[in-house]
């Protein structure tokens, strides 16, 4: 994950910006705990609140296509969360490593998870969602989840791919990933010998 070229440019508020950002109606109602899951909710005195925590966030894909989502949806990615909450917050958040179709899928996943009822089990939905994707999109989504530091999406995609390869023999895994074996025959023989127990199925 290459973050060295993170060009963070904080745009000054322009007329266009305020159209997209809905400022909270009453600053006193905005508590940091609403945006950061898991932290104990503390009352934040009005003076020290960041008055411009937006309700919506704009994400910018590799192709500079923009996606508007609710902050709560975007906070499932550490990168997005930090981009908004650190300092003055940058909007739109540039996600230069994620292409638009992949970002759209990630957003779809986050939305479903945010909308989930308390204690609702989404494993079936997750499986169907990922099962619908082409192999290419699946891999790109996993890579994007890693880049955007989205634990929920990363865990889900990794488990899904893991479940696929668990059922496969070595040759099948190679086919699935389009990998050429670069071991010598001697090396392969030795590996088989070392792992004898594991292959006695």
């Amino acid at each position: 994950m290459d973050m060295e070229d993170d060009t963070v440019q904080v745009r000054e508020n322009s007329a266009e910006d305020t159209e997209m950002l809905e400022l909270p109606k009453d600053p006193a109602e905005v508590k940091a705990s609403e945006f950061i899951k898991g932290e104990s909710s503390k009352e934040i005195p009005v003076e020290s609140q960041q008055p411009e925590l937006p309700e919506n966030v704009v994400l910018q894909s590799l192709e500079k296509e923009e996606f508007i989502i609710k902050l709560a949806v975007g906070q499932q990615s550490e990168i997005i969360k930090n981009a908004i909450l650190d300092g003055r917050g940058e909007n739109p958040v540039p996600l230069l490593n994620v292409s638009a179709p992949i970002l759209a899928k990630a957003i779809e996943f986050w939305k479903r998870h945010i909308d989930a009822a308390e204690g609702e089990d989404l494993t079936e939905w997750d499986k169907a969602f990922l099962g619908d994707l082409s192999q290419e999109v699946l891999f790109e989504l996993a890579a994007a989840a890693n880049y955007m530091e989205s634990k929920s999406l990363l865990d889900c995609t990794c488990k899904f791919i893991a479940d696929i390869i668990k059922e496969m023999k070595v040759e099948e895994v190679r086919d699935y990933f389009g990998i050429e074996c670069d071991f010598t025959e001697e090396e392969e023989r030795k590996m088989r010998e070392d792992n004898a127990w594991a292959f006695e199925q």
Binding site: E136, E140, C158, V173, G178, I179, D194, A196, W197
Partner: protein
């Protein structure tokens, strides 16, 4: 297949990071299999992230007890061979990165197994091995000598503790946590106080301990910060040496001395399931009668074992029985 090139780019775009995270979900049999895919994957399968903790808690020896013949346990050859093969796979893949190893109390390994894993896990920081019946003094000493970074050990009661405590104090400069399962008398306490004065954490939970031993710990272990005597059967000597009195409540002296600890865990409630089981088993907890998670528990968080992890799961357990 023209598609080949673009597909190859794809998995490599996912990167090693993601591949390793995917592999975290696989057990060691599955890892052994996919480690043959190609060199990069072999590397990924040996990533330390996967092998920090090798929890073989689901593996048991096929044994019978032989109460009249030392070492009082007989394990069949097939069981030994099975253990050898499993350790071979684990050590080959882990490439020396295992820092914590956990074994079941019914896993009775021999010196040769112990030596094998000691040679191949030089950075071991924690060992949980409650079944020492078939291990010799030499065997254990040699293993400990290889584990310079050892910090924590869970062991059974042994007849002559000094030699082990000595070896640990010589070889393991960072050793700070000890858990004993079984009985704990003043000789054991003395061995620890003598050889491991820097010990910080000690758990004796669910053991049969003497008041004498407890007082020695409280008086002599200056660096001890955490002591766990939950659900212990606490015995006090009586004038008649063949009789012992069960102490049902800790007296003020003990509580006062123990108040200096950062954490002092004790429980002797008749309503507590663990205490009831101790009573029923007369102080020598018969772990095999109870749930698997029960022996793995500890009130001290750094000694609690939690879940079995992915490396050796129930699928591996089933496969193992076929060896």
């Amino acid at each position: 297949m023209e598609d080949n090139k673009s597909i190859v780019r794809r998995w490599e775009d996912m990167g090693m990071d993601v591949l390793v995270k995917i592999l975290k979900d696989l057990n060691m049999v599955e890892l052994a299999s996919v480690s043959q895919v190609c060199r990069q994957w072999r590397l990924a399968c040996s990533n330390p992230f996967l092998w920090r903790t090798l929890d073989l808690g689901l593996l048991r020896s096929n044994f019978i007890q032989t109460p009249d013949v030392p070492p009082y346990i007989y394990v069949d050859d097939r069981s030994d061979r099975r253990l050898t093969q499993i350790l071979k796979v684990a050590m080959a893949l882990s490439c020396g990165s295992v820092t914590c190893m956990i074994f079941h109390f019914n896993l009775y390994m021999k010196d040769e197994h112990l030596n094998y894993i000691a040679e191949r896990s030089p950075h071991l920081k924690r060992l949980v091995m409650p079944g020492w019946n078939r291990i010799t003094k030499n065997g254990m000493s040699r293993a400990i000598r290889r584990w310079e970074e050892l910090e924590s050990m869970t062991m059974p009661t042994i007849a002559h503790p000094p030699y082990i405590m000595d070896e640990i104090s010589r070889s393991c400069k960072n050793f700070s946590q000890l858990k004993i399962m079984g009985t704990f008398d003043v000789n054991f306490a003395s061995a620890i106080a003598t050889s491991l004065p820097k010990l910080k954490v000690l758990s004796l939970r669910c053991s049969r301990i003497t008041k004498e031993a407890l007082l020695l710990l409280l008086n002599c272990m200056d660096n001890l910060e955490v002591l766990n005597i939950s659900h212990c059967l606490l015995l006090e000597s009586l004038p008649n040496p063949r009789l012992k009195k069960i102490i049902r409540e800790l007296d003020r002296t003990i509580l006062e001395k123990a108040s200096r600890f950062r954490e002092f865990f004790h429980c002797q409630r008749s309503s507590c399931v663990a205490c009831q089981r101790m009573d029923a088993d007369e102080g020598l907890m018969r772990w095999y009668r109870y749930e698997d998670w029960f022996w793995r528990q500890d009130e001290v968080s750094s000694l609690d074992l939690g879940d079995h992890g992915k490396l050796f799961d129930s699928d591996c357990e089933k496969l193992a029985t076929q060896i």
